[in-house]
């Protein structure tokens, strides 16, 4: 099969790789570039664990032809932290116990970043819409929604839900 050279920005650094015609972006990111943060959860475009941003837009990389990102800017969860400094979303997910198995987490964070980049003060409904293409089987979504709102500084802090000291009656 013919290989085609492409160049794109991945989390701000330039990447040049040869891709096969028809090869999907998820496979290229994971196997050719070595960015393992997008996850393979269905290869059907339905679970959202492979979500990346292409020029700021949420995209499922499993259904994206790699050759179409020529010249584009691709962002993944690997680019969220600034060196050792975590993104506010990452901090909020940690504080809010918003991950269990952690497999959907990178895609979930990317979808949340896409939202906050465009809308720094989202409503709960905005958050729900933004992550509606990301499936999670562990958490029941509520801690994730709360964590994204907490990161936006706009919702109640998810840690506040918890009356850990117990109740005396």
């Amino acid at each position: 099969m013919a290989k085609k050279p492409i160049q794109f920005q991945l989390n701000g650094s330039s990447k040049s790789v040869f891709v096969e015609e028809g090869q999907n972006l998820l496979e290229v990111l994971r196997r050719e570039v070595g960015d393992l943060t997008p996850k393979l959860g269905c290869a059907q475009g339905a679970c959202g664990s492979c979500t990346v941003l292409i020029d700021g837009e949420q995209i499922v990389s499993c259904l994206t032809l790699a050759e179409t990102v020529e010249g584009a800017s691709v962002e993944t969860a690997a680019g969220l932290a600034n060196g050792p400094t975590l993104h506010a979303l990452q901090e909020a997910f940690m504080d809010g116990f918003a991950a269990q198995c952690g497999f959907c987490t990178p895609g979930m964070l990317v979808s949340a970043k896409a939202l906050l980049d465009k809308n720094p003060s989202p409503s709960r409904g905005d958050v729900i819409e933004a992550i509606s293409g990301n499936l999670c089987r562990c958490t029941g979504y509520e801690p994730i929604i709360d964590a994204i709102l907490a990161a936006a500084g706009n919702g109640h802090n998810s840690a506040g839900r918890y009356s850990g000291s117990g109740r005396q009656s």
Binding site: R31, C101, G102, F103, L109, C136, S163
Partner: protein, 557 residues
């Protein structure tokens, strides 16, 4: 909102611990939010090959012949793996615990028993090439009659699904074609009940659906060993299974896992590790074998369907005096873990209630569908749906508050459970009280004052006279009804003759009874009626074979 009711059972706890009880962050959380947690598929190998299986398109078919030649010539194909390449091509998962009999091939190249059953495997440079090669393989099938309903599968003339399991039922304790639970005399209680409430409940097959799909990557390691990265929920289950079917010493296998993207029971079956390692042995290359999502949904084992029939004897004051279950676990074509889950279900009955007469027959039934396996609440979730739906049907019939009905029958400390062990450390009463309070569902003051500490009085702690039977016996035993002496001198439970009981009303509008189980094993055709009651002690005594058998139907390794 979460609240901790530290006031309840406060005197049973020391809450002043350093680390226990603290909301400490997860150890793995930084890895999760940075995407660095190492799942099995996050390990990279040079020259990784991919394994895919040719799968049965039929529910049930004999394989006359397989022609793999056209596939061998296809681009990228490194190896076609057949059943004959698997050294021990028959296994059952729980053989690692000495439970059950080997009944499932790794690759079924003689007969297929469900749609999707793997027949052979192709190892190629890409998944696409593997699929293209599979499309070239020609299989000559002789399609056989199939059975999909568990009750039909128990009929005498049903197609035989699994040749290791005559009669399509798992043999329990080398003795019966079902698991029995017998406590007291349900028929006597039915005869004296104010009401009989019965119905049929059906649990659907459900996919575990973890977001990470099942798979394994095997690669050659130094010193003639193989490393295997896996999504398994049970590392040594998978290692032991691979060692057994590939006939290699366990210390030549190096399994790495432990960081898994959800499981919910769907990653116990150890289907991927043996084939990935075998592919690695046969090609000398790293081999990845993973389900795609379609395979997860239709080939990977789901939570199996369960069908439960419940018949209760109920008094007007809300006491349940007898509960009879007939349960069918539709386990699909092979046993996997279902035989064990049924024993778990038997030990769970009659649910969290103290009922003086309990009877259950639970069948592990083979049908021509995807084998079932574990899922969150295995053996319990399905029957809890049945029991708790049934409790509401009783409350509706009696016009009672459904929470109060449950509190009347709730098990408490000191009560005797149907499997003949004392209930301890119970907390059902308090959970019901708190849930009622939180939701503003009123219950009477007497019920608010109840406590789990107050069980075990009178008959509640006793083992009653119990009627036993030999229905469903396997082999040449003569069915007989016997009365087993109670271990105490307390007589069988008799509902009190409280004059306030009204006359029994009409039968339920929609009684649904289980059919009398057909004994299609080699039992005598004159199977007795179900537990005739009261049992006569004049019936011939069956020789006692042994007090206990092993938990396994058959001990074999």
């Amino acid at each position: 909102m979460i609240e901790f009711r530290k006031d309840i059972f406060a005197d049973e706890r020391d809450d002043n611990l350093n680390e226990i009880g603290k909301p400490t962050r997860r150890q793995d959380i930084l890895g999760h939010v940075t995407g660095r947690s190492p799942f099995y598929d996050d390990h990279q190998f040079e020259g990784l090959l991919h394994l895919k299986c040719l799968r049965s398109p039929h529910h049930h078919a004999r394989i006359r012949s397989i022609d793999t030649k056209p596939a061998e010539q296809m681009p990228g194909v490194h190896r076609i793996i057949q059943g004959s390449d698997v050294k021990v091509n028959l296994n059952t998962l729980l053989s690692l615990m000495n439970f059950g009999e080997d009944d499932e091939p790794v690759l079924s190249d003689k007969k297929v028993s469900y749609v999707g059953e793997p027949i052979l495997a192709v190892v190629a440079e890409t998944e696409r090439q593997a699929f293209d090669a599979i499309a070239k393989i020609r299989v000559d099938y002789e399609v056989l009659p199939h059975v999909l309903d568990p009750e039909e599968a128990l009929q005498p003339n049903a197609p035989l699904v699994n040749e290791t399991m005559p009669g399509n039922a798992f043999p329990y304790h080398e003795k019966y074609n079902h698991q029995k639970l017998r406590f007291g005399d349900v028929e006597a209680a039915f005869a004296q009940a104010d009401h009989i409430v019965e119905d049929r409940y059906q649990m659907s097959p459900i996919e575990q659906a973890p977001i990470e799909m099942c798979g394994a990557i095997a690669a050659p390691e130094t010193n003639d060993r193989f490393v295997c990265y896996t999504s398994t929920q049970a590392l040594f289950f998978s290692l032991g299974t691979a060692a057994k079917v590939l006939d290699v010493p366990s210390n030549r296998l190096h399994f790495i896992g432990g960081t898994v993207g959800g499981g919910f029971g769907g990653k116990v079956d150890s289907l991927h590790e043996p084939l990935a390692i075998l592919g690695c042995m046969l090609t000398g290359r790293a081999v990845r074998y993973a389900f795609d999502r379609q395979e997860e949904m239709q080939v990977g084992a789901p939570r199996g369907a369960e069908r439960w029939y419940i018949k209760d004897a109920v008094m007007n004051d809300g006491r349940i005096t007898a509960r009879k279950f007939t349960g069918y676990f539709d386990v699909g074509a092979y046993t996997r873990l279902s035989s064990y889950a049924i024993i778990k279900a038997a030990g769970h009955l009659p649910g969290p209630y103290t009922i003086p007469n309990v009877y259950a027959d639970i069948y592990c039934v083979y049908t021509n569908r995807t084998p079932a396996t574990a899922m969150r609440g295995f053996g319990i979730t399905g029957v809890d749906f049945a029991i708790e739906s049934h409790m509401d049907q009783i409350a509706h019939k009696l016009g009672m508050n459904p929470i109060e009905l449950r509190l009347i029958n709730s098990y408490m400390d000191g009560d005797m459970k149907a499997h003949r062990r004392e209930a301890k450390n119970t907390a059902l009463v308090e959970c019901m009280q708190v849930a009622a309070e939180k939701s503003g569902w009123n219950i009477a003051p007497d019920f608010k004052a109840m406590s789990s500490h107050n069980g075990g009085e009178g008959w509640r702690s006793e083992i009653p006279h119990t009627v036993t039977d030999t229905n469903g016996q396997i082999g040449n035993g003569v069915p007989a009804s016997t009365v087993r002496p109670a271990t105490t001198s307390i007589p069988a439970y008799v509902p009190s003759q409280n004059p306030s009981y009204a006359a029994p009303p009409a039968q339920p509008a929609r009684p649904v009874s289980p059919p009398t189980p057909q004994s299609n094993v080699q039992a005598t055709p004159t199977a007795p009626p179900q537990a005739s009651a009261p049992a006569s002690s004049s019936t011939p005594k069956r020789p006692r074979v042994s007090r206990f058998s092993s938990i396994s139907g058959t001990r074999r390794r």
